[in-house]
Symmetry: C2
Subunit: 348 residues, 2 copies
């Protein structure tokens, strides 16, 4: 088992100094053709590669991006990672991941861990617990130490940093308007509690769409799910709530769900109650997931373009990292990714 070879070892073997080796390998004009040849051949033979850690220490730059997300077993987030990774690799960066599991403390710990020199900057989506507590001190601290942050999807308006979002309000409005155009008279929304920003915005979009079309706002048609518990493992409870919604409002002929799981659950309940989709009930979800495409009937959705969000976030971050100009006032941008209504079989 031969350890990785270093400059020092090469120098010793060839009986020259370390700096000569270093220069020879970087093809410096200072070094004679002779020694260059000799050194380069030797280095190639032993497959020399500079040690990243040493370079990071010397350059005070790791060329690594830290990405903190609430969960990874989630189509949207893995799409985002894919996007980040694509751009990062193209521009010579690695990606290191930290999962918050929707927990505030894990988010903080993970960020501290990575902030101590391991990475150059963060790309992150805020955990539910953090949003609920509205405690954002760790973001400010990180940035005050000169480490840039790009937030995506679940962002905090209070924090000054680059952001990549979709226009949740407008997109929801568009989706609900679509339902109205398709003839729905009684449209329910299945959404999250308001502390989740995206949930709140989507609810507002729903309300505005109804209002603009002079449709009555019925509070019983608004189902706000408390998903502080993990609904993925509490499907029965979710379905019960939805079933109750249907039973309390027999007129429902349209459902707008703010995520894939809610949409699918609504479809499942509808099937159970013998409600035909899309004839008697039209459904639109808000998601970038795979379930929509493969469900029966396949689900019409507002697509968020997760991969594109990841790419944009990575571009923003790396641009900032490599921006030399020392401006007085730092400027932050918010990129809004256009959503797309993908029409499938749950709408007519």
């Amino acid at each position: 088992m031969k350890r990785k070879i270093t400059l020092k070892q090469i120098a010793k073997e060839l009986d020259v100094s370390i700096s000569t080796v270093s220069k020879a390998l970087r093809n410096s004009a200072e070094i004679s053709e002779d020694t260059k040849q000799k050194v380069q051949a030797f280095a190639k033979l032993y497959n020399y590669r500079p040690n990243n850690i040493a370079l990071s220490l010397k350059n005070r730059k790791t060329n690594t991006i830290g990405i903190i997300i609430p969960e990874i077993v989630h189509h949207f987030f893995s799409k985002v990672i894919q996007g980040v990774e694509t751009v990062a690799n193209k521009r010579g960066y690695n990606v290191i991941i930290g999962l918050s599991n929707e927990s505030f403390s894990k988010e903080v710990i993970n960020m501290e861990m990575l902030a101590n020199g391991s990475i150059d900057g963060f790309i992150l989506s805020i955990s539910k617990e953090t949003l609920l507590m509205q405690d954002y001190h760790h973001f400010n601290e990180t940035m005050s130490q000169g480490m840039p942050i790009v937030m995506f999807d679940r962002v905090a308006n209070e924090i000054q940093c680059d952001k990549v979002i979709v226009d949740d309000f407008k997109s929801a409005k568009k989706a609900v308007t679509k339902l109205i155009e398709n003839g729905c008279k009684s449209i329910a929304i299945i959404t999250t509690k308001d502390y989740i920003n995206v949930g709140r915005l989507r609810t507002q979009g729903y309300l505005e769409a109804l209002e603009n079309n002079k449709m009555p706002l019925t509070s019983s048609l608004i189902l706000k799910i408390d998903d502080s518990l993990d609904m993925e493992h509490n499907l029965a409870a979710l379905e019960n709530e939805i079933e109750q919604l249907f039973k309390d409002n027999k007129t429902i002929d349209g459902v707008f769900a703010v995520n894939e799981l809610y949409a699918l659950s609504a479809m499942k309940v509808a099937r159970k109650l013998n409600i035909k989709i899309p004839e008697d009930l039209q459904v639109i979800g808000f998601t970038d997931g795979v379930l929509s495409k493969h469900s029966t009937p396949s689900l019409t959705t507002v697509s968020q373009h997760g991969k594109l969000m990841g790419e944009k976030a990575a571009e923003l971050l790396i641009d900032k990292l490599e921006d030399q100009t020392e401006t007085e006032e730092e400027t932050f941008s918010t990129v809004v990714i256009e959503t797309e209504l993908v029409e499938r079989e749950t709408t007519i």
Copy 2:
């Protein structure tokens, strides 16, 4: 914007030497209570944290695990990552990801990138292209440099390293036997070309199950999909092949599919051909995915326990990394994760 504070700066501020600060922070008995108090208070105030990179360089240990997978937008692989991350964090390690996108060259480049000091060891699943080419030199090179590798799921028997797998052969046999017990007389398999190890093993399990039950082996019932092309984006082609399979073999009353997508496609085709599931056709898939649970009817599957695989892989790797004993002959273990037949609605 205050940069992260270092020992040097603290030393300067307090007018003591760097090593005094270092010792004081580690609560060394060498240092007087007085100075300790002073230093610790100051460090706390400025939120001092040792620089990971410097520590890595000094200790020649990064406490970071590299994970290389073919794709991340895939339920099984994200489950594995989740498992790795859980164990890694618990034991004080970070996780850095590299995606091969099923490409040999990206796999090699990514590994080289990370192997140059960024990480202590690899957890990986081999890309399709690498399996096809059977070029495993990069694995051997990495290990010969003293960097351990743990392979999971898609492993190479030729390579001596720790492995975490499921017993594909036995699991497939179990699944097909289940179909036979359920009364299926004509069972088709939808699998991959043989260069994918897991596909080959699952096919063998299928064959053995038939044989053990004295059922005829009909070659036309074996559909080997060439997924060198990305089937996810070529669903139509996949469905055509399956439709042909059904049309050529009208007797089919059971399908064993080696992954989720194949299983769902089979179900879709069956629906199109007005074949009732599970009355006329029973289906079992091999997967750990979400689609199975939410499909209609929900799919009976062989579950691979991806998260558990990740956890095991991480345990193996970290154990090896922290094993001090310098044994003559290195020993490698292969952990076999038990699969589980999750019975849902596509079997009676």
